[in-house]
Symmetry: C2
């Protein structure tokens, strides 16, 4: 039974690895033995994501060691034994395989090293640990998909502005080969996923429940499409429901897994700000899209820029610059086209300003108006005429008549 | 004739100084003799504002010295002699007095020292010099009015969002006693002046033409009202028309005279960005109001934040903080009200998440759902019940029924 299921799973991932368009072309190398995978699958059900007490109690132990000690009901670990009787990692792996999902663990070719930053808890102010593994639904290679990625997060109850901007920026990111990661929720999340899908790009939904659970229910068609064309990922095993703490723990994954987090519309009390906080702690880029100051929906984004040094994201290029290695993708700041008149030296400009529109004036008059001496004025007039900015008439200088519209 | 006019002017300013509500109550001290004022009035007509060549040629000379040398047609100053024949400083002072204006010069009690920063040209990358004097129309004391002031600048062709925000922020600034300074132009400028006037606050229009010239024409009613309730100020003597270079020179005055410049809606090619540049060079605060990234009108504001370290201005408080002495007016960042459930320790939150909404569950069941040991769960349930977050029933624990609406 055990072997059968794992074989099944291996077959599934193998097929996935070689069949997916966006996935790496090599079959997935698997350096982990079955015991390790089973232990981690079990732990992913027993230990709540981001459990601080667990992180402390298990400090320095391998996954196998933790799992063995829990089975042996070791002293000090009683706290995590309550669920043990109901845990069936082998069953979870089978259930996942049946739902078209695999369980990716550290050491697997597909494991996204980026999330390991979460294990380095000493560096973070809020310790929460790396996941024991990631349940993954979809054909793409998780590690490859995350290599160039940005998370787009924001309000569930977003405005039409937020919805529009999330879809546009995500489509633009997808166009430049950046994977769009979000949480599969209503509002900004859904718009971001949809934008990436519309541009035929890769998108990943990281859920706070099992990858086989459709939450929110009305996003189930969207989640299916993401699983079809992109990836649905969760730290929690199949069947799990979301809880408040699971949403917060999920946010740390989104932040850690991507090179940058972009907040689009977040009220002051928004999970997106929590994700941004994690991105900050993980050393990832934090960006916020500005909006009208009259909109409460943009207050959180503006707060990030004002109080937490988030970068202002106004375009796809801004985001690509921020998530790329230093200097790799510098944004060209927008510039207006310069006209000839913009580049005039001050004396020329002053002379030009003093030339009448209609009724020609002599150089002596123009010199007085411009406040320049006559020789300077004469020279400037010649120069302006040479550039066709003014015309000379028998009675003096004037601006050229406007070009008639064709 | 000379003395008569000056006496007239002195009487006017005296009346103004003691009569104006917002003005200082002492009569204006005048440490300048007539010769100095006449020389500066003359220079304000002969030398274009911000004339770099003049700054160089006159370096180290007093106003009287410059004026004398120009009269004597000294070598090297020929450039400025063209207008000399037509200049009548005494006439200008009379003309100003007739229009209800006075000519304020350094040393006058009313002189705003802030603009002297422009004389320290060595510190600036674009030298342009301090004004020889300021032509001032209105009852308020210029120096006092600028003591707590911010300039609000932006696009002439602003959107209704920009118009609304400019009026609201200006009204708010006026309410807190901050004088709103702008350029008297269409769009953001006009909205800013109107907002301050609507809040019965002080507002100052700094013009690129004479204080008696209504430019733009259709703003003449607004300019009259500003002169009535606030101040209209210009570096150029009465009767002068605006030119492109005069607009740019005017911008440096707006930036230097106030403690901070707030840009509201500026396209990439906007005079407001020029003003912001001057504010930067003068060591003044530079703020930009964000807007939709889909609006070209906000592109300049966002550019200032991204490329030139402008602060994001989202409220009156943000502006007041930025223009106040360090630490004097710290903005309280917006915070959402915290509910009791927000402050729960993780174990309590996990237990609460595991308590059913309708059908009571025993502690043993809740412990499994929460993934906590039974003693911890029991303790958490008691604590949650003590805060009325859950209720105990004969068959177990559940959330309290919702309070019926009155």
């Amino acid at each position: 039974m055990t072997n059968h299921a794992l074989t099944n799973l291996a077959l599934t991932t193998d097929t996935i690895g070689s069949g997916g368009g966006a996935a790496g072309s090599e079959p997935l190398a698997d350096s982990n033995d079955d015991r390790e995978r089973l232990a981690r699958a079990g732990l992913s059900r027993v230990v709540e994501p981001g459990d601080l007490a667990a992180l402390k109690a298990f400090d320095g132990m391998s996954a196998l060691e933790i799992w063995d000690r829990l089975q042996r009901k070791s002293r000090g670990l009683e706290r995590w034994s309550t669920r043990l009787a109901e845990v069936d990692p082998q069953g979870d792996l089978e259930r996942a395989a049946a739902a078209g999902a695999r369980f990716v663990i550290p050491g697997d070719e597909e494991w996204p090293d980026a999330v390991d930053v979460l294990a380095d808890a000493g560096q973070l102010t809020r310790r929460a640990g790396a996941p024991f593994g990631l349940w993954v639904r979809g054909r793409a290679n998780l590690r490859a998909a995350l290599k160039q990625s940005a998370s787009i997060v924001g309000a569930r109850a977003c405005s039409s502005y937020g919805d529009h901007v999330a879809a546009e920026l995500s489509a633009g990111l997808a166009d430049t080969g950046v994977t769009v990661v979000s949480g599969g929720a209503f509002g900004i999340d859904a718009a971001a996923h949809r934008g990436a899908l519309a541009a035929s790009g890769l998108t990943i939904a990281v859920l706070a429940c099992g990858v086989d659970v459709s939450y929110p229910k009305s996003n189930s068609a969207l989640l299916s499409r993401i699983a079809e064309d992109g990836l649905v990922v969760a730290e929690l095993p199949p069947g799990c429901s979301p809880t408040k703490l699971r949403f917060l723990a999920r946010n740390r994954l989104i932040a850690a897994a991507t090179q940058g987090t972009v907040v689009i519309e977040a009220a002051i009390r928004s999970g997106a700000l929590n994700t941004a906080g994690w991105a900050e702690q993980c050393g990832r880029a934090v960006l916020a899209v500005p909006g009208p100051i009259t909109s409460r929906m943009s207050a959180g984004s503006h707060l990030l820029v004002r109080e937490r040094n988030a970068l202002l994201a106004t375009s796809v290029a801004d985001i690509v610059e921020a998530i790329s290695p230093f200097g790799a993708h510098l944004t060209e700041p927008p510039r207006a086209p310069q006209t000839l008149a913009d580049t005039l030296a001050p004396d020329l400009q002053r002379t030009l300003d003093a030339v009448p529109v209609h009724h020609p004036a002599p150089a002596t008059r123009i010199a007085v108006t411009a406040g320049l001496d006559l020789p300077t004025t004469q020279q400037s007039l010649e120069s302006l005429a040479a550039h066709a900015l003014i015309t000379q008439t028998p009675t003096g200088w004037r601006l050229p008549p406007p070009t008639p519209l064709a």
